[in-house]
């Protein structure tokens, strides 16, 4: 057992425990934020320290230390750091539970990092639950009616989806007799596709796996929890789960389906088709429902369902494209960075604005452009990126995903996706219009703290940087798309 390969995760675990212990014995709670950020920084250093050891299997092939996991570890650490910085003011609402808040964020991050690295079904399940259970607890942190409702809904639906996922894993295990995903692939290839068709259990297992993971990424029709959780849960937590949980779900889907079910080709065409159908449903229903929303957090909830739809176009490409082609995977990774930046930025701006106006209704956003020009400008840039317009990251991300899909004969799917992007512009721009062109209720300024401004600045600049100079991160995404098969 080589524990050095696990140092980033162990660092987060130790930090989480340290935060819980410190919370019991010190009275200056601001210190907890510093310790959490320090832990994330050390984990980043350790992640980079493993850069020379990439492409190897650890712990009897249960974990992969490869480019793909390296990319997601950095992404999750970055997301967690942004969320912790953005919640420095917000945590005062949690009264006696600030230590638990930080510890749970760190443990959820740890679970997501393991999700990106696992190559074995049982470890997949354990790491998924580590992340999920922390998020269930976090959504109920405000302890008011709506927050508790969202936590209970999230937990019950999450438990059902876990059951579905386990059923799928059991069927896959039943057919192949293996839990390690490389060995599953070997077993499927050995038996041949025609034999598999006589035995529908594998297809059933794959369908149930799609359903179980579909809950994590908020794909239609497993999205029931999204609007209520987004509305009720604390805003920084919503930001965290909307990008972190979704990215982790996509990480595990890409690794599992790419490694275990890529061959024979007729099998990967099958699940590619499933994801294409889910993509259409997600985009159409997500966008159509978002139009009617009056609460901005619910609106972003439906928007995240639609964004999952665009990402599913990438997964459909992954199923249909030849396995050696890198474009399907790298475009998903690129889209995930762009989505993480834009969505986090939007949520940070919402935290800052609703701190003052104490409302999440879009009509109360009237005239924010005059009351807080910088906040409104950053929110506008993030929303434009979510639409996918120039010169932001969202445009480039959608361009690469759609480009990959067209090259592999999914033109019909891309036409639907582009039409949906046009529809989505309507509801995103409605918020922008309310902020800049509607008359404000009062002319009082909206103040924001340094920490909020800092994280907002980083996300907004990141969105613009990725939109104007995409080469750097695109090269990184292509490098990170190398998934180790063993």
């Amino acid at each position: 057992m080589d524990f050095t390969l696990l140092t980033p995760e162990l660092t987060l675990l130790v930090t989480a425990i340290a935060v819980i212990l410190l919370d019991l014995f010190i009275s200056r709670k601001g210190f907890l934020t510093v310790v959490s950020l320090l832990g994330l920084a050390i984990a980043t250093v350790f992640t980079f320290g493993l850069r020379d050891d990439l492409s190897q299997a650890a712990f009897s092939k249960m974990l992969a230390v490869d480019n793909f996991a390296f990319f997601f570890k950095l992404l999750f650490i970055g997301i967690a750091a942004m969320v912790i910085i953005a919640s420095t003011d917000y945590v005062s609402k949690f009264k006696n539970f600030r230590g638990e808040y930080h510890a749970l964020i760190l443990i959820a991050t740890l679970g997501m990092m393991l999700m990106a690295a696992t190559t074995e079904l049982i470890t997949v399940y354990v790491s998924l639950e580590v992340a999920s259970i922390s998020l269930y607890a976090l959504s109920g942190f405000l302890k008011d009616g709506k927050s508790s409702e969202s936590a209970v809904k999230y937990m019950i639906l999450g438990a059902v989806s876990s059951a579905v996922l386990l059923y799928g894993m059991a069927l896959v295990f039943g057919v192949t007799g293996k839990t390690q995903i490389g060995e599953i692939a070997a077993s499927i290839q050995l038996s041949g596709y025609s034999n598999l068709l006589d035995n529908p259990a594998l297809i059933m297992g794959i369908v149930l796996l799609v359903a179980g993971f579909g809950f994590k990424i908020a794909a239609i029709p497993f999205q029931m929890w999204v609007p209520d959780v987004y509305e009720g849960a604390p805003t920084p937590v919503v930001g965290f789960l909307s990008v972190g949980s979704k990215a982790a779900g996509f990480a595990i889907i890409v690794r599992l389906f790419f490694t275990a079910f890529e061959f024979p080709e007729s099998l990967s065409l099958d699940w590619g088709a499933i994801y294409a159908v889910l993509a259409i449903a997600g985009m159409i229903i997500g966008n159509a429902s978002a139009i009617a929303q009056s609460n901005i957090k619910r609106l972003l909830g439906y928007s995240s369902i639609a964004q999952a739809g665009y990402l599913l176009v990438g997964l459909a490409t992954l199923g249909i494209a030849p396995a050696n082609e890198v474009i399907g995977r790298s475009s998903i990774l690129f889209f995930l960075i762009s989505y993480a930046l834009a969505n986090l930025g939007a949520f940070v701006a919402i935290i800052a604005i609703s701190n003052k106006i104490e409302s999440d209704e879009i009509k109360d956003y009237a005239g924010i452009g005059k009351r807080a020009p910088v906040l409104a400008l950053c929110l506008t840039v993030c929303l434009i990126s979510l639409i996918g317009m120039l010169p932001t990251a969202g445009f480039m991300a959608k361009f690469y995903i759609f480009n990959g899909a067209v090259q592999n004969g999914l033109l019909w799917l891309v036409i639907i996706a582009v039409l949906n992007s046009v529809i989505s512009a309507f509801y995103y721009l409605r918020v922008v219009k309310a902020m800049w062109f509607n008359e404000p209720a009062s002319l009082e300024k909206v103040p924001s703290s340094g920490a909020l401004r800092f994280s907002l600045l980083i996300t907004t600049l990141g969105v613009l940087f990725m939109g104007i100079v995409p080469n750097l991160l695109l090269t990184f995404a292509e490098w990170a798309a190398r998934i180790l098969r063993f």
């Binding site: 675990l13 068709l197 529908p200 369908v207």
Partner: protein
């Protein structure tokens, strides 16, 4: 392809049919007068045999037991994990000892947390 998914469809039909039959069977038997309907107080009792029931089902437990139940579950899980280690203690050597010590440390932090937060006080 169609044949494969046909099995799934067949499975769904059989499942739904089985559930429907199981729900409708008692109703149908009652309707056809196969099952007689003569309720008595003994027949309507909660249990057919055993002790006679006393009082209502909605008994109130003291809410504070819930903390102890949670703490007990944590201890239970600890024992479940230590037991297999203890049987293989020689083969697993120092690395096994280290892992178990780390695991116990984490659980210990949990108990320390419960203690400091006052979960063990009875008030």
């Amino acid at each position: 392809m169609l044949e494969t998914y046909g099995f799934v469809g067949l499975f769904i039909i059989v499942t739904l049919g089985f559930a429907a039959i199981m729900i409708l069977l008692p109703v149908a038997l009652r309707f056809l007068k196969v099952v007689p309907h003569h309720p008595t107080s003994v027949k309507n009792a909660t249990f057919e045999c055993g002790m006679e029931t006393i009082g209502k089902t909605w008994v109130q437990f003291n809410f504070r037991y819930y903390f102890y139940a949670l703490l007990f579950v944590a201890l239970d899980v600890l024992v479940v994990f230590i037991y297999p280690w203890a049987t293989q203690i020689r083969q697993l050597g120092y690395s096994g000892l280290f892992v178990i010590a780390a695991f116990m440390g984490i659980v210990l932090v949990g108990y320390l947390y419960a203690w400091k937060k006052g979960a063990l006080e009875w008030n």
